[in-house]
Chain length 531, copies 2
């Protein structure tokens, strides 16, 4: 008789210990009789990452209580559940094996990541011992996320007799990560001769999106099962003598499809998990707000999205036309509120103070900030979260106005470089026009003064994005970027802008990490910085 393992790829909520526990109990009840063993994501009960909630003594108490209740439900089915656990005054990141109504054994995570967005040694001490248990004649080892990126924990599990290694994950998305994971896990499986059941979390949490894509490899590293990406799923796998039986496997989606789904998932979960159901955004007729609108509609439905165009004296007619056209095409509420009355009021109020000065970026910023006030007013009045529409290229060099176009609760494109914004817009139009073609084709402009073009202030986006990727994501020096083929003057300009604009990014709303290194917890730079 085969042993059936269920991969419970579920969308949990950080801090909702009782709610997450109910999800586990529901799974156990639904799967009893169909599966022998259910594996959940890392830190199931707290969600991931719980950050400093882990330092609250009440967190330990509530986890202990929830764990007791789950154990009671672990009858006729074995559950492998993640949670933080204080043992002899030391906190571990634990996977508990719950069987016959009790917590039968606990595995303590050995490798605690301390790079990129991760801070686990802030909260946990590492474990040292393998855990292997038998179920239906198969010997299962237990491991947690980062463990499988190293030989040692896998080797110890194999040495302790594991045929199948369970791996509980909360592995966030970035572009190309899913393939990277499978390749790495396959190599580990092959090297140590264990099948691997890799269970990932799914859903958004602040700046992170967990992409699911749980999978099973056999002991030769062949992927035998794969759960969906970005959706919840319960994948059932039969093991015959510890060997996962082959099944149909969905192929990977392409890069744009994956990135787009990450943005939709991240936006939907951030909005809803914060208790909102709808959003508002400024629709300028430019590419960034056009793509943001498409993402918002795909995330929340057209009836939950409101678009506002806010023209000024510098707004081209086609900007207004294109904005109105896209709003109509997408079926969202739309209105136009010209900002001239407020802009004029501020110019008048400041006329004495600014007497004798020339117009400069000050007046451009006032326009952007008038738009911010209008959008925030609608957000406040209608309880709709304001989405900010800026992209990563702009965030990098500070080509955005604090409290103006940077105002908002969430920034879906925050980690999307401008060239990828275009790629995603074209990809979203693949089955019919959603974003007007002219919006994609026009040269980008902030429209904050007459005849303004982004290219007046910045290098072409192909050059800009190239320099940024090397500087921000790969830590190249100016010298090394020049050696890679970029113009020295442009490299110096761009890297200086990146350094100088950390203060703006520090006040930016959160957005979804999709590159190897996003701004936010992932890149921790000082503001005062003369490097």
């Amino acid at each position: 008789m085969p042993t059936t393992v269920a991969l419970a790829q579920i969308n949990l909520i950080v801090g909702d210990i009782e709610g997450n526990a109910r999800r586990v109990i529901d799974c156990a009840q639904r799967l009893r009789g169909r599966a022998d063993l259910v594996v959940f994501p890392e830190l199931t009960l707290t969600g991931y990452p719980p950050e400093d909630l882990l330092l609250r003594p009440a967190c330990d108490r509530r986890v202990a209580k929830a764990l007791h209740e789950i154990a009671t439900a672990a009858v006729g089915i074995t559950l492998v559940v993640g949670y933080p656990a204080l043992r002899d005054g030391v906190r571990y990141n634990v996977a508990g094996v719950l069987r016959d109504g009790v917590v039968e054994a606990e595995y303590r995570k050995m490798k605690l990541p301390n790079y990129s967005v991760f801070d686990e040694p802030r909260y946990f001490e590492p474990g040292a011992n393998a855990l292997v248990f038998s179920q239906g004649g198969t010997r299962f080892g237990v491991s947690i996320c980062e463990d499988i990126w190293y030989d040692m924990p896998v080797q110890r599990a194999a040495a302790a007799g594991a045929q199948v290694l369970l791996n509980l994950n909360a592995s966030p998305f970035h572009q190309g990560k899913a393939a990277e994971r499978e390749k790495l896990v396959a190599g580990r499986a092959q090297r140590f001769g264990v099948a691997v059941v890799y269970v990932n979390l799914v859903g958004g949490q602040d700046e992170l999106v967990f992409d699911g894509g749980s999978f099973v490899t056999d002991a030769r590293g062949r992927v035998r099962h794969r759960a969906p990406f970005f959706d919840e799923g319960e994948t059932l796998v039969d093991l015959q003598g510890g060997v996962p039986q082959p099944a149909e496997i969905e192929p990977f989606a392409n890069g744009e499809a994956q990135a787009y789904r990450a943005l939709v998932t991240g936006t939907r979960d951030y909005v809803r998990k914060n208790g909102f159901s709808s959003v508002v955004l400024g629709l300028s007729g430019g590419i960034d707000s056009a793509l943001t609108l498409a993402i918002a509609v795909d995330a929340l439905g057209p009836h939950n999205v409101e678009a506002v165009s806010m023209p000024s004296r510098y707004t081209a007619d086609i900007s207004n036309l294109d904005a109105a056209q896209q709003a109509e095409q997408m079926g969202v509420a739309y209105q136009s509120i010209p900002i001239e009355p407020a802009f004029n009021a501020f110019l008048e109020m400041l006329s004495e103070t600014f007497a004798g000065t020339q117009p400069d970026v000050t007046e451009e910023n006032i326009q952007a900030r008038c738009r911010g006030i209008v959008l925030m007013a609608i957000s406040n009045k209608r309880n709709r979260m304001l989405l900010t529409t800026g992209n990563k290229s702009e965030m990098s060099v500070g080509y955005a106005t604090l409290y103006g176009d940077m105002a908002g609760g969430f920034a879906p494109l925050k980690d999307v470089p401008k060239l990828l914004v275009y790629d995603l817009a074209r990809w979203r139009n693949r089955d019919g026009e959603v974003i007007p073609q002219r919006v994609i084709d026009r040269p980008p402009s902030a429209e904050l003064r007459a005849d303004q073009k982004d290219s007046d202030s910045l290098p072409d986006y192909a050059v800009l994005d190239g320099i940024l990727a090397l500087y921000v994501e790969q830590d190249f020096s100016v010298e090394e970027i020049v050696e890679a083929g970029y113009d020295r003057v442009q490299v110096a300009q761009v890297t200086r802008l990146v350094d100088r604009n950390e203060y703006k990014r520090r006040q930016a709303p959160p957005g979804i990490k999709i590159t190897r290194r996003a701004y936010g917890r992932d890149r921790r730079y000082p503001i005062v910085n003369r490097f």
Copy 2:
């Protein structure tokens, strides 16, 4: 002949490797002949904390080059300097002993803090070995900051023969920290029978202020020398056979004096190290902006501070009078710009959109945001950093408007609870009125609607601050706060507001940590959080 040790308590700049190296060389040249040995703060060359600059390969290269230049200057004087060092591909937090033109030996920090604002294991591996060297017949051990908070590194140094333990620090201020440090170090000195030379950094870096107050204890734990707080200093100490000779010691200042100097130092350094020389702020006639103005003037001088009052229909006459009076008393530029024209323009622009709705917090926020636009316009036009005036109590419960009164480059009072705002205002008035007495005596109001008082929305500040200290700084649960004597309804309200307003704090400007736990790097909470 005594051995003379100099404690180089200097104000370094993060990332300015070449500039910091010049400071070290200047010290060496100036002290040659007067001191045998100069001890500098932790990570002298990069400043502290350098954060992810440490991950840039160029950082290692530039540190290596600067170190070589400093070593060349270490002739006729021994320098103990801190820097990050890659050794066999592993990065350590190092104190180098530079003598006779070379780096003679390196000590690797053993204890790497990973709590509060600290992230050292993200960058460094711990060392394991004591380092002791002789100078003029005295045997000096070396240690770095956190090391001395544990027995092990001190014990190893003593076991290796150290008579005097040098301790290089970058120890940030919080209230009461200086006394805590001296007590702890004295205990360690006594326990292991070593004198301690404790050298601290001084000056502000983003949200941290290093308060200096370097000191020397003898092997019985008696404090024999103390450098100034919040100022640079070169304290020279004679050691006779390893015994520091007693000297006059300045007593500690009181709590208000220390906190106020921390705020002044942090504000001055944040403004200047970011390349600004002057600031602008909104002066409302309330206590927060009044204290912020006093801090700004004490930090930068009255000619570098501009105050703007921005009355609306809801502003009391005495608010305008008190603001004007304080501005005049303090000798700062002052103007009044009523916000009614812009406020009316927005109400008009939104009248159709908001038809049939009742005035609510939306209209209050528009007023605050009109003020934000005016202040940011002056900031942009005159290149003056905008100071935000909100306090910790408000930041905690979200009693502030994003992009409105929260707009600004720096928030001096961000970590100052409201009751302490009053204490500091009274303390600043101790030698004559700087803040009009009526500003201190009036009940606080945001003046965003008719007859508004803070107490309409919030518990009395004595209650609010009490609950916040327990919840935010001490991780008490609701239940535990109620047991401590607070009203259950109020506790539930306040803690819920703290949880719900993480999104606002995430977009707040930086401010100076003065409590045990500040918002920012010190308290890492998820925004999506159903705890």
